[in-house]
């Protein structure tokens, strides 16, 4: 019998706010001492009152609009009760009855073509703290710096059917949320985490099989491996009766390449959801809604079409540039400053992206000044700075984004001088040092002078117009 895999994802994304969702503590604890960003509210002390961070609602709404969701204009918070030491209040404040966004749609593309994935809902909630188990054997240490850091949970319908589709879906989510600048979405940093709900059923059946959930997966590769393993385990159980499948939560061990049962799956009743009496409904009025709608970015496909149709870029260039909003913004600012979309695209793709790759930086980590890049492009295209030295200036701009290219070029002797006296002197010395190249050239091997040309350019530190140098070199040899 042939089987099909049915997958739904719950993706937790940490929102890029400065402060936590219900208190004013910093939401960023990287490098901080344990429990340094805490207060009575995020420590769950009795009597504390949460106050909603407006930007969390802004970002929740924006994420919803990016994923084509309906925005609930009255959205409420609820208590999800469970006991665990990383949750100091013994409940998580989340959204159950009226989440901020519902009924969305995300289009993905795989080797099998395009497909729509329905979004059931996006809800806003607070993160839990961190437990540390390896300081002492008899005790677990608790750090509440992460409690109440704002998250959105994006819940898909079970519309995915393979590891490839899951990967495409996650990449699409990342791209859209990064375009909207609501989240970093970096699985390696824990700012995007994923729970995978998976079941298997005979192909063509409309009845869902027994569902298992794998929690807190934090790399796309691990998710793909887990899906493949879990699919095989389910099919084996159904075909060969190797085990009885039960609805449960499982832990994926990426080193062993296996999943292990953690606990039987909780149902909503176990969490005793009820409206949080400490947080009144959030009412999004027209003015608030419009202010967020107005800040939505151009979608990647719209941007790509504009780059090809209005700016005259090729499909490949437009595709490369629209891979990240950081690349797009740098390109567009550089284009404004230099006036040539093709030159700006060329520098972005051949030089900027090369440096990013060489430094093992993601495209979203790009932090150079686009205006300065535009000025650099003008300096090189006008012949004021040689291309090789232009690349050196660009590398320096990656280290210090306040660098002004022209001043940097002047300070480092990168301005092309075209001092013909100096060029002639340099050419004469190079010719005397390489008589064989000269005789080869004179005997018809035109390329023979390239070694002399290169030596001259190196001696002049790239600060001369290649055309001027070439002419002086050929004239000098011909007059010998």
């Amino acid at each position: 019998m042939r089987y099909e895999t049915v997958i739904g994802l719950e993706v937790h994304v940490e929102l890029a706010t400065k402060s936590k969702i219900f208190c004013s503590c910093s939401a960023h604890s990287f490098g901080a001492e344990p429990n340094d960003h805490v207060c009575p509210a995020c420590c769950g002390m009795p009597g504390m009152l949460p106050v909603v961070n407006r930007r969390v609602v802004d970002y929740g709404m924006k994420a919803g609009l990016m994923l084509n969701c309906h925005i609930n204009r009255t959205t409420t918070f609820d208590k999800k009760s469970y006991y665990y030491p990383d949750l100091p209040a013994a409940y998580q404040t989340t959204q159950w009855f009226a989440p901020v966004a519902v009924n969305g749609l995300v289009e993905i593309e795989t080797s099998k073509g395009k497909k729509n994935v329905r979004i059931k809902q996006i809800h806003m909630e607070e993160d839990a703290g961190k437990l540390v188990h390896d300081i002492r054997e008899d005790t677990t240490h608790v750090d509440f710096n992460r409690t109440s850091v704002p998250l959105i949970e994006i819940v898909s319908q079970p519309d995915l059917s393979s590891a490839e589709e899951v990967e495409a879906y996650l990449e699409r989510l990342k791209m859209l949320l990064r375009y909207a600048k609501v989240a970093e979405c970096e699985m390696a940093h824990g700012t995007m985490r994923c729970d995978v709900n998976l079941s298997v059923r005979p192909e063509g059946s409309d009845k869902l099989g027994v569902r298992t959930e794998m929690k807190n997966m934090n790399s796309v590769e691990a998710i793909k491996r887990a899906i493949e393993y879990e699919t095989a385990r389910h099919i084996d159980a159904l075909e060969n009766g190797t085990e009885v499948l039960v609805q449960e939560t499982r832990r994926w061990d990426d080193i062993k390449g296996k999943s292990f049962a953690m606990r039987t799956k909780e149902t909503a009743g176990d969490y005793r959801y009820f409206p949080d009496p400490n947080v009144m409904p959030v009412v999004i009025d027209d003015e608030w809604f419009e202010s967020i709608s107005a800040t939505l970015p151009e979608f990647p496909e719209v941007k790509k079409a504009r780059y090809t149709e209005e700016l005259g870029l090729g499909e490949y260039d437009a595709d490369q540039l629209t891979k990240s909003i950081a690349l797009c913004e740098c390109f567009e600012t550089a284009y404004e400053a230099c006036g040539s979309a093709k030159d700006a695209a060329n520098w972005m793709i051949s030089e900027v992206m090369s440096i990013l790759n060489a430094r093992k930086m993601t495209y979203d980590m790009l932090d150079i000044n686009g205006r300065a890049l535009g000025e650099l492009i003008v300096l090189v295209s006008s012949g004021k700075v040689g291309r090789a030295n232009g690349k050196k200036i660009l590398a320096a701009m990656f280290d210090d984004n306040t660098i002004l290219p022209e001043k940097y070029a002047e300070a480092n002797g990168f301005i092309v001088s075209n001092d013909t006296g100096l060029i002639e002197k340099t050419v004469k010395a190079a010719i005397e040092a390489d008589p064989k190249a000269v005789s080869d050239y004179k005997s018809g091997k035109e390329k023979a002078i390239m070694s002399i040309f290169g030596k001259c350019m190196k001696e002049l530190r790239g600060n001369c117009d290649p055309q001027v140098l070439r002419k002086i070199l050929i004239d000098t040899i011909n007059n010998m």
């Binding site: 420590c43 407006r54 300081i135 054997e137 240490h141 750090d143």
Partner: protein, 93 residues
């Protein structure tokens, strides 16, 4: 309210009811169930969903970091701390 549901709720809420209390709870929910069935018979398809019993809304604050408490102040009442962490009995994962 089924007896299994009640047993589960007892467990979740760490309660232990006497047989008499269980009968009271079951009878109470049976009456509420009948009331709810009456309400469910009403067509509410054109009625806007109520999210709160009072016409009130939350206040929101700006996304600004304000440090209000020191760790030492918050951990004054803790039974045990170590290197800035709260300590709890070991959790087996």
């Amino acid at each position: 309210m089924e007896r299994d549901t009640l047993r589960r709720l007892e467990m979740l809420n760490q309660l232990s009811l006497t047989d008499a209390q269980k009968e009271d709870v079951i009878a109470f929910f049976a009456a509420r169930d009948a009331e709810l069935k009456t309400l469910e018979a009403i067509d509410t398809s054109d009625t806007e969903r109520m999210v709160h019993v009072m016409p009130i809304m939350t206040v929101v604050r700006d996304d600004v970091i304000i440090k209000t408490f020191s760790r030492e102040a918050l951990q004054q009442g803790a039974p045990e701390t170590d290197e800035g962490y709260w300590c709890v009995p070991r959790v087996v994962e």
